[in-house]
């Protein structure tokens, strides 16, 4: 019950935030100087008029705004001005699956490895695993994803030939880019978990659990890990942002037809409806990620969902 209330509340926050972002972006884009049309100096005035009317850009701003909102509700992100009137939604949906799959795989794989590494490092401080985890964490944070990507594609892909070096299609194609992207996740998660694990194991409730006669596995998995996970979950949201932006370069290196390609095209073309549409899609996606993280957070930590899910 608490969880349902909490979820609804979080959902409402997400919806309002998204609406604010849409509105602000929409009006900002319209306040920018210049015409949305490219090469407009070269266009004959009648043609220009015709195009502007065709895209509804001659209507009063509030009419355009509500029309745009109506379109969004139906999943229409607008029409591109550069790609022969293609729908922004279609273009986004073309690139999104590959990027999403890559990001999700990287986060899942990175989290699992990061948790395992962090738990062992925290429990066995000063052991070789702990030292290894420290090295991985430093490398993972300081070496950019595209360097890892380049090294992986050269060593594992070219020299060893274990996995394809580029392109998209089969499961094997995802291995190297996933590894390249998960470096940062492993680094961040393992650090968080290690620090927390050390702290949690010294808490009184761990002593209580031990005094109950529980075996150390039960203590670690039932009592310690769950508490140690709480702060790590909070960084999952910002990390999703990192992964998605990091994936742009990685996608380019591995020639993956994802959002990265779309972004580059959008920005170089200065395509006004594309920028608007992609921004909104991206924001919606990130808000969704944060929403999911919030729910996870509430699931793990009852104090959150009960105190924030309405009255006690």
């Amino acid at each position: 019950m608490d969880l349902l209330k909490y979820t609804l509340k979080r959902f409402a926050y997400m919806a309002v935030t998204l609406w604010l972002i849409i509105t602000v972006t929409f009006f900002l884009m319209h306040m920018l100087p210049g015409s949305p049309l490219r090469n407009e100096e070269k266009l004959p005035p009648q043609l220009k008029e015709q195009i502007l009317r065709e895209y509804g850009l001659k209507d009063p701003l509030h009419v355009q705004y509500f029309r745009y909102l109506g379109g969004l509700l139906k999943g229409d992100l607008g029409t591109s001005l550069t790609f022969d009137g293609r729908k922004v939604t279609d273009m986004v949906l073309e690139g999104f699956p590959a990027s999403a799959q890559l990001g999700l795989q990287a986060i899942l794989f990175g989290s699992i490895i990061g948790i395992i590494l962090g738990v062992i490092a925290g429990l066995k401080r000063g052991s070789w695993i702990d030292n290894m985890a420290t090295v991985i964490a430093i490398l993972g944070v300081s070496v950019p994803g595209f360097v890892v990507a380049a090294v992986l594609s050269y060593v594992v892909g070219l020299k060893l030939g274990w996995f394809p070096v580029a392109l998209w299609g089969t499961w094997e194609h995802t291995v190297l880019p996933t590894l390249a992207l998960s470096g940062l996740v492993i680094a961040q998660i393992s650090r968080y978990i290690r620090t927390e694990m050390v702290e949690v194991m010294e808490q009184d409730y761990i002593k209580t659990a031990k005094a109950k006669g529980l075996a150390s596995n039960a203590i670690i998995f039932k009592h310690a890990l769950r508490n140690a996970l709480i702060p790590a979950v909070t960084i999952l949201g910002p990390m999703t942002v990192n992964i998605m932006t990091g994936s742009m370069t990685v996608e380019l290196i591995f020639a993956i037809p994802g959002m990265g390609k779309l972004f580059v095209e959008t920005i170089t073309n200065n395509d006004y409806t594309m920028i608007l549409g992609v921004t909104i899609f991206y924001s919606a996606f990130l808000l969704l990620a944060i929403f999911i993280v919030d729910i996870l957070y509430g699931l793990i930590d009852p104090r959150i969902r009960i105190t924030q899910g309405g009255k006690e």
């Binding site: 109950k212 006669g213 039960a218 039932k222 009592h223």
Partner: protein, 338 residues
């Protein structure tokens, strides 16, 4: 009355970067069936280390049992394996801690935290364990236990949490309950309730209690015997009346004068013992209290006094009991009289 637990010459140290902290340096006492003993002494004298060593809760490293025995149920607990110890913890010997705010896991319902031990030790299925846990909540005086069962620790008040801790500790009807300052963190009114609850449950469950406390009022209320510790050693032990009305050790005198007690009139001043306990990295070779003792003699600095019997139930380790020592009377503030 038979003896349930016997601690003999227990020595526990911590290996730290700065050297070896000799936290417990030869502690002996016993606990009889159904009895309550109190361990008293200043902060840092080794009460918690002693009690946690009985349950083998201290991680090693840094803690090391340097010597001695803990005899329980025909076994020496300083020697049993971790697996065997798991079967003793919670079922035979249980423990509650000082701070009920931090002793419960914030991410698990109170009910499931009570059930855990029951499921593990009594091999019950979930439904039966739940029944038993609710029964325990009721037993420790928590209203509407069915509802409370599903709540989390942060929805409980401090007193309620300590009740829940007692429910966890007593769920498997242990032979020995160790309570390490169970009321220190609570309001005064709640303190009395928790002590009453412990007394009440002790009769029902027939458990023996080791109570660690700073509060001599609580000691007078619940304990039958008292063990006085100083700097990792037992300096005096005896029946409640013996310690309260016929204390023999100057440290006990100081303690009695420095702590509030039931028979004390409110205008009587509390006199803290001047000075600080010795450094446990390098404990003195003589009596550890010598540096703070008004009656210290030459021998006190050189040799640790043996434990002598005042009566068959009352022991003290002080050179003043030596036949050749001068006669010293305890100060009035210590023995309560004028």
């Amino acid at each position: 009355m038979s003896t349930v637990l016997e601690v003999r010459n227990l020595q526990v140290s911590f290996k730290t970067h700065g050297g070896e902290v000799q936290a417990v340096r030869g502690v002996s006492f016993d606990l009889k069936e159904g009895e309550t003993i109190a361990i008293v002494g200043e902060s840092g004298c080794g009460k918690s280390v002693t009690s946690q060593t009985i349950m083998r809760l201290l991680p090693s490293p840094p803690s090391v049992i340097k010597g001695g025995e803990i005899l329980f149920d025909g076994k020496d607990l300083t020697k049993v394996s971790e697996k065997e110890m798991e079967k003793i913890r919670g079922t035979q010997i249980a423990m509650i801690f000082q701070d009920p705010m931090t002793s419960l896991n914030p991410t698990m319902t109170v009910g499931s935290q009570i059930m855990e031990g029951i499921i593990k030790h009594q091999k019950m299925n979930k439904a039966d364990a739940k029944k038993k846990a609710i029964e325990m909540l009721r037993l420790v005086g928590i209203p509407s236990p069915e509802k409370r069962f599903n709540q989390y620790p942060h929805q409980f008040s401090g007193g309620m949490r300590q009740r829940a801790m007692i429910a966890i500790a007593l769920a498997c009807a242990p032979k020995v309950l160790i309570a390490d300052e169970p009321t220190t963190a609570l309001d005064v009114t709640i303190q009395a309730q928790i002590i009453d609850l412990m007394k009440d449950l002790q009769k029902k469950i027939k458990t023996s209690i080791i109570l660690i406390t700073h509060d001599l009022g609580v000691v007078a209320d619940i304990a039958e015997r008292v063990v006085v510790m100083y700097a990792g050693k037992v300096v005096e032990s005896g029946k409640l009346e013996e310690i309260f009305y016929n204390p023999k050790h100057p440290y006990t005198w100081g303690l009695l004068a420095s702590m509030p007690r039931l028979d004390q009139t409110s205008d009587q001043e509390l006199l803290p013992i001047p000075g600080t306990p010795p450094d446990l990295f390098k404990p003195p070779k003589g009596c550890p209290f010598a540096a703070r003792c008004k009656h210290a003699m030459k021998i006190c600095l050189e040799e640790m006094p043996d434990t002598t019997e005042v009566s068959s139930t009352h022991q003290v380790a002080c050179w003043l009991t030596h036949p050749m020592a001068p006669k010293v009377e305890p100060p009035a503030a210590a023995v309560g009289g004028e």
